[in-house]
Symmetry: C2
Amino acid sequence: MNDVGIGLLGFGTVGAGVVEGLQRNADLISRRFGCRPVLRRICDLDLDSDRGVVVDRSIMTRDAQDVINDASVDIVVELIGGTGAARELTIAAMKAGKPVVTANKKLLAEYGQEIFRLAAEYNTDIFFGASVGGGIPVIRALRDGLSANQITGIRGILNGTCNYVLTRMEQAEMPFAEALAEAQKAGYAEADPTLDIDGWDTAHKVAILASLSYGFCVPLESIYVEGIRNLAATDILYARDLGYRIKLLGLVKCNGASVDIRVHPALVQHEHPLASVHGVYNAVMLTGDLTGDTLYYGQGAGRNPTAGTVLADIAEAARNIVSGSGGRSAALPGSDSAMPLSDINDIQSRYYLRLMLPDRAGVLATVASILGKHSVSLASVLQKEQYAAGCVPVVIVTHRNSEAGMNAALQEMAQTGLCDADGIVRLRIED
Amino acid sequence: MNDVGIGLLGFGTVGAGVVEGLQRNADLISRRFGCRPVLRRICDLDLDSDRGVVVDRSIMTRDAQDVINDASVDIVVELIGGTGAARELTIAAMKAGKPVVTANKKLLAEYGQEIFRLAAEYNTDIFFGASVGGGIPVIRALRDGLSANQITGIRGILNGTCNYVLTRMEQAEMPFAEALAEAQKAGYAEADPTLDIDGWDTAHKVAILASLSYGFCVPLESIYVEGIRNLAATDILYARDLGYRIKLLGLVKCNGASVDIRVHPALVQHEHPLASVHGVYNAVMLTGDLTGDTLYYGQGAGRNPTAGTVLADIAEAARNIVSGSGGRSAALPGSDSAMPLSDINDIQSRYYLRLMLPDRAGVLATVASILGKHSVSLASVLQKEQYAAGCVPVVIVTHRNSEAGMNAALQEMAQTGLCDADGIVRLRIED
């Protein structure tokens, strides 16, 4: 059985998981991979910390070139993260003709075009299964399982921090700040949770999924991104009473001519499979023209789940080396041209509105008339008990309307002085 | 771009779906597959029926050898089903050095050993992604996504007919026979539904999943199989009140030393992701030592979903042809030896019991004392209202107990004459 040499760049949490996986499941991995993966070099600036795994000190180095240039290293595993050294070293490895396995969503989402072009140019492989969904093989499902499908939709709960916060806000009926603090205490949120909470982590992931689906690199800045920072527990509870759960979704919809990509909180019906994804779990629903809806669920982050996917990528790279078929499938299955991306103002959606209105006669009539004027048709209206002195919440669920019409209606409503912009909550419903 | 020739054996529902998929998504498929799959021959005994797709009559034949021996056919797609001609032709194609794509669960479950051995001997590929889960890429997840994991558990809703019947029994509170008749009318159940209803279809699928997980062919006859034919709507409703849904599950559990494989109805908590799988949908939860729980959900049958997976397998075979890497991964990733399979009597489980007891004093004490004698410890006991004259149902949920102890207790209970064997319902709870 062939040996295949592995070089690790970055010996942090996931790196230690990869090493432990290789050690723990060595026999099984060799049998399944059809070759024996041997850890040849590890690079990290910190050579001394205890990672809970035993490695031969002689294979460790602080110089990444030692890994890339080592003739016995066949596959380079990039687990540094970010887009500085990670990008340079990924490119250097590919130029050296070595396949790269990475879990780096930021690198792919921001520099995918360059990385994919170089992979094709140097006829080498880049695998990035763990960049989206951690332990969930959703990149694989998209690349392989649904390879004959036109992808018409993607709906993903792609950020465990946000999903944990939203789950706790509903279950414990606590405000956002309190749920976030709890997530931080439990190690489910970073000290600076901005990237997660404001939706950017989800945007990176959805950009990668959309790029793979349509064969062109989706520019991050063209994605509409709205996070969960401003969500009120009140709306989570009202939504629950209406039969919905609020989730931060990464959404992709394609009608064949243009692609609508966005990230925002959305109401999802209790019966929808995404509604039962709780806590730090992630799930992605992929819709294909042949296969229909398929859902993939699991741990979207964490040492061992992520390491499991990195190891599966190593297996694929190793098989290609052993069978001499590197680059057998394009990293980004090509397309002839980029499709136009929809503007958020052009979408159609159902909406949940909560308006904080003065408690006096005629107010609801004014609201209904403004909505009607902008062709916003209502599915249900519910006036709640007084919330604060003189102020009643009115919860409205609309039929399908245009975002532009809804914007115009809400703007006019704010202008009437009935309620200021702070008194208007608007959330999209994802059916 | 290379052409890769496809030969189809069997032009039924799924075959027509494959042809339609190839036609409809031709450009996309060529770009993604890295080659152009060209339909070269179709064999079927019926050359005349309208399948809703247009094919050149000149490529059709009644003689399967025309397909296998055609030099322009690079990949043989077996969609005949069964284990007669399908087995012979699959073997003939492999002996001719041609990779085979099949959706035939029966063939794999019954003749896997022979098929896998021949694939290795002739260094060719056999892909069978659509044999389990239809459109759900669960075989791929097991082979590729979780390739570095020890598989510790599999829990699958693998039969759409049964899941539809169970869903309707709960939702419409109807008896089994009525729900089955409805399923047949809707085209979700065969005229002879035995294989589905009695659990054998699920057993075939779970045998394939277990074989892939542990690297040896699981003999079908060693699987404990219990179907849903005798389920009473009463128990489905009692289970619902207790917070459970009853599902027909294919189960695999491995402790590293032995494997427990079985098919039976089981109570699943409402909060468990498998509980929200309704109607004809299928779902499989795969548990790996690194990745933890992952779930795969979608349409487990049907023309287009199944065709989508067959086409994905064709893509894999085609890439291997183009890159000259046929047989790059073993059809059955090998193991050194078969693991022993657990006997159903040796399992541990929680149980749901419904006992139809005479409505008189002291009866419950007798029951409790018999259960206690056999070390069956109770989690909850609920005596329901009179059901029929003089007869009250007592619903018991137990803690984890041995199947053997439970059997002994139920046998002793039947001997007391308190209730006959028909008056005892015992279902397993899957946590």
